[in-house]
Symmetry: C2
Subunit: 372 residues, 2 copies
């Protein structure tokens, strides 16, 4: 099976597609659950599958530190290690080096940093990042980039984007091609249209198997993000999948799909699940709220997850109140199921040419709140 | 279905039986996973079922404080709340009041104490404990007793045991009989044979559906515990199930089954699972040990649990090193599966008349350690 993308339908700018990989197909639009350190937090691999997930994400930075890329390779790769036979996308490590590592130093060759865990020094280059992702056996490898900070001046954004472009070329050269595996370039350029254009044009020449939009969801807000997406997706090859990195809320996803994005990842549904926040068809609930203590209704009527089909809001409230691990376990499963359902609904309605109506209905639902 | 116990076979003093209840049958000997606050920690109900568990335990003290017995009743009972349709045994609350509550005051009527969570005052009597367990919808209700401290003088143990006996009578009177539900009396008497005899004789007259042996595993050590069991089980009605409360290690279980015990509960496999200790056929492993970091073997060859069939020792080590919740989740599932397998093996070998050989083989296995 070669790595390829079938664009099946468009509804406005929204797209429905099917991504083929060595590890299985991914219907798009799709949300990728984040499996930071080789585990989607609070979830068994079976539980992740039960949410409807088709692809998960692993973090090069975290896996490089623990257990180490060479060790993952010796254990047969990330799929085998975490019992996930489906596609895995790994990021390049660039983002966490900016957000987590200590004493980082950036130069043309790459980035030198100290582990946030024990201070061990690492030098990460585009070539080393590609090698690590190869050792992890990533289905989709991301180029090493510098995620431009926000806000940035035009000058700062240009310098940063051009460094990322040079690293993208080196990443492309270092990528080991294998049947059914792909590599994505990452567009940068902050909120500047001319820089986004320049980034997209250069990356397109490298003929990646897919393209990510980086440097968004870094503090600019939804309005500014959508303004960039309004033109940015059109700058990318139409026949390749488009991945918006690190996004976002359910509303961010609906709006970004409407602007031509196919793939997402975010820690939001998993992190929220561990902190008692539930994403539902009636909006966001805080399950610690005492109003749920006698609420015998399911968390979200019609949701097929374990939390909603087997338990009550009162029980979920009780679990969080007692700080029982089952609370995060059930709510993470629910939130991921909700994100998957949201994307499945989007796909179905794009194929039917009814995506706008779908979004209107979903957003109406969010205003309903917890009461009938 | 009436609540009854079929004694199917004896091998020495060891017994194989079948307990019939309103919520299903329980082959004995059996180990009951502890679901303190309406959840077996780190486990979904499906995961508990997958360990081979037939019956679980709930704690009256914890459930009385949170979410409250009346609330559990409004939610349809503990089975429905925690998605466990099988039998549930609830303790009476006496033990945690001794071990956890503040400012407890014991008198003939019962015990007054303050919640360890928020200091709220409660008065627990035999009658109130029975009412709570009724509200929880316990398949097996335990009488309220005072768990005699260890060491105790003969005088202290006699006074304590006789109070427990008077409470047992009141508990029996307050128990609401329902088809398929049962109530167990609790023998006390510390390490004094005459007191154990007196306790057993009085309790037997009350014709409980089963009998527990209390006041052991409270610091006396395995040797002293076995010395009591050597005579204590014979003091109890042969045709009723016998439950040794709060026990224990795998070796405690084997030795207690050999002395005629049918049922056990203990937090050990679940607590150990959360702290990286694995019970295996080759002994106890500490999964944080660095020797496992490249160990690609299953935790325990032949074990049917998720941890052993899908993952490596190296992955479990990695999960605990990173403090990922999946570590406790997988290791709790494994430890409970190990305890269930141990009891299933015991039952099979008692039925075959080979229990002594079984114990020898299992104990031999424990000496093998982690290396092949």
């Amino acid at each position: 099976m070669s790595f390829s993308f079938d664009l099946l339908a468009k509804d406005g700018a929204a797209r429905a597609g099917l991504l083929h990989t060595a590890h299985g197909d991914v219907p798009t639009p799709t949300f990728m659950a984040v499996g930071t350190a080789g585990t989607v937090k609070a979830m068994t691999a079976d539980a992740v599958r039960a949410t409807g997930a088709n692809i998960v994400l692993g973090n090069t930075y975290h896996l490089m530190l623990r257990p180490g890329a060479e060790r993952v390779a010796r254990l047969g790769g990330l799929h085998k290690m975490m019992d996930w036979s489906g596609p895995i996308l790994t990021d390049s490590g660039g983002f966490q080096i900016m957000s987590l590592a200590k004493l980082r130093k950036l130069d043309e060759t790459g980035v030198t940093f100290q582990s946030h865990i024990d201070g061990t020094a690492y030098h990460l280059t585009p070539e080393r990042s590609m090698e690590i992702q190869y050792q992890l056996d990533a289905t989709i490898t991301m180029v090493l980039d510098e995620c431009t900070k926000f806000p940035a001046t035009h000058e700062e954004a240009a310098v940063s984007m051009r460094l990322s472009t040079r690293w993208a070329k080196r990443s492309r050269d270092a990528f080991v091609r294998r049947e059914g595996y792909g590599q994505f370039g990452i567009m940068q350029g902050s909120t500047f249209k001319d820089l986004r254009q320049e980034s997209a044009a250069t990356l397109s020449e490298l003929e990646f198997e897919g393209y990510a939009i980086g440097g968004l969801a870094v503090g600019e807000g939804q309005e500014a993000m959508f303004e960039v997406l309004d033109y940015a997706t059109d700058l990318l090859p139409a026949q390749k999948p488009r991945y918006l990195m690190g996004v976002g809320t359910p509303d961010d996803l609906l709006g970004s799909v409407a602007r031509g994005v196919d793939m997402f990842d975010c820690v939001m549904p998993t992190r929220a699940g561990r902190t008692a926040r539930a994403f539902t068809s009636r909006g966001i609930f805080n399950m610690r709220n005492a109003k749920f203590q006698d609420d015998s209704r399911p968390l979200d009527e019609g949701c097929p997850c374990l939390a909603c089909t087997r338990h009550t809001r009162a029980y979920l409230h009780h679990l969080f109140r007692c700080e029982e691990m089952l609370g995060p376990m059930l709510l993470t499963a629910h939130n991921l199921t909700y994100y998957q359902s949201l994307m499945q609904g989007a796909r179905k309605n794009i194929l039917a040419g009814e995506y706008t109506t779908y979004c209107d209905n979903v957003r109406d639902g969010w205003t309903q709140g917890t009461e009938p």
